[in-house]
């Protein structure tokens, strides 16, 4: 369908953009890559009176890598992450996950901030944010604040962001060089949203036992989540075949799964276990 009638503004400063959103009182929406918002407008799922385009805010386009970790400006595109060679070492899990996001043309426009704000339960970036304890920085009429990813995603397409807030960056904590990690996703077609995906990592103590295990699940429940029971199993253990099989069983038994047109909840639970199993096997390899 054609889009509903709307106004368009393209501010050149963050404060101006925030002021436009605040003045719109919930009827104004930020426009980043448009790769989720434009389809929602075409389906008339949303019909804001004003779109506030963020494309003239170059400060939101930076990727900064330091001892503190990786800072992704909200307007960093999938394509930019794909092209940034430094990220292969600085955050291999991010790089691997983003390789699964959407198709070529969409990757040239879709952004990390847009994906986080959109909060599709099957999107990779929110899942990485939750798995890695990321922080989401936002600026609104009341000033700046930082929201932990664990507190940000409330349910499908629903976040803790206020209508006048703009995400400015996503901060991923530093990635130790020796960290073990795995990412496995199942989708029917390359580039489609995940039917289930597992993102995980752990560090190892001097004896080679797993510590600090983080196991994240994407596309299974109504938002990305961690699997504390699986993490508890992994911590303190050698990641051998028996542990991997047990982790898959616990995943299927404990994960909160949604049913939709693509798959039943039972299928998703089973698939979730398989994804954790494969991701762990690649982490341990």
């Amino acid at each position: 369908m054609k889009l509903p009638p709307l106004e368009y503004a393209c501010p050149t400063s963050l404060s101006e953009a925030v002021a436009l959103l605040a003045a719109g009182g919930g009827e104004a929406r930020a426009l980043a890559g448009g790769q989720s918002l434009m389809p929602m407008l075409a389906f008339r799922v949303v019909a804001p009176a004003l779109l506030v385009d963020l494309r003239k805010l170059p400060e939101l386009r930076e990727i900064e890598i330091s001892a503190d970790g990786v800072r992704l400006g909200a307007m960093v595109r999938w394509r930019d992450i794909e092209d940034d060679e430094r990220l292969t070492a600085a955050h291999p899990l991010l790089k691997a996950a983003v390789a699964h996001v959407a198709h070529y043309q969409i990757r040239n426009r879709g952004t990390v901030g847009g994906s986080i704000a959109h909060a599709d339960p099957a999107a990779e970036m929110p899942g990485i944010a939750v798995t890695c304890d990321a922080e989401i920085a936002a600026t609104g009429a009341a000033g700046q604040r930082t929201i932990r990813a664990a507190d940000f995603f409330l349910s499908a397409l629903t976040t803790a962001l206020k209508h006048d807030e703009i995400i400015t960056e996503i901060r991923l904590p530093a990635w130790p060089a020796k960290r073990r990690w795995g990412f496995r996703e199942f989708a029917r077609r390359r580039g489609d949203f995940a039917m289930a995906a597992a993102a995980l990592f752990y560090d190892q103590d001097a004896a080679g036992k797993a510590i600090n295990a983080h196991v994240g699940m994407i596309g299974v429940g109504d938002r990305p989540c961690r699997l504390p029971e699986v993490e508890a199993l992994l911590n303190g253990r050698t990641i051998d075949e028996a542990t991997i099989e047990r982790a898959a069983e616990i995943t299927s038994a404990t994960v909160d799964a949604q049913e939709d047109i693509h798959a039943s909840a039972a299928y998703r639970r089973s698939l979730a276990g398989t994804m954790v199993e494969r991701a762990l096997r690649s982490a341990a390899a």
């Binding site: 426009l31 434009m38 389809p39 779109l51 385009d53 198709h103 070529y104 969409i106 040239n108 390359r190």
Partner: protein, 159 residues
Amino acid sequence: MPTKFEVNGKPVSVNVEARTTLADCLRHHLRLTGTHVGCEHGVCGACTVIVDGDAVRSCLMLAAQAEGSKVVTVEGLSNDEALTPLQASFRRHHALQCGFCTPGMITTAHALLSEEPDCDADRVREVLSGNLCRCTGYISIVEAVLDARSAYKKPNGNA
């Protein structure tokens, strides 16, 4: 809203409603009907055009967002006299039947080959995964794109 950009090397100036997509602007306002609109919500790839060097879906972009950009449509990738090497390769390999998806395939393939003239079959398949074709079964399209690579390689080596 008045918007200026460049299409196929020529400056254009249009006055469109803010909600007008770049696809509709090209087709209805600029009468460049080579760009096809299949789904209008980002899944089919028929509307692919090249904006500042990047292949993008023109149904997922407002015309207003093209302000100041250089847009290349499928019309800009042909010439009147003869088929371009990419077009000739599509013909040779029977990479089109009804032709509805073809503008999106050509623009996407052109963007890909311009940046990666050495891409392999896997990469071609990955890139074309965002373009739907109801007729060909894709194999002939992948072959046509692979066969056109030589035309994109720089004369002094492998680009």
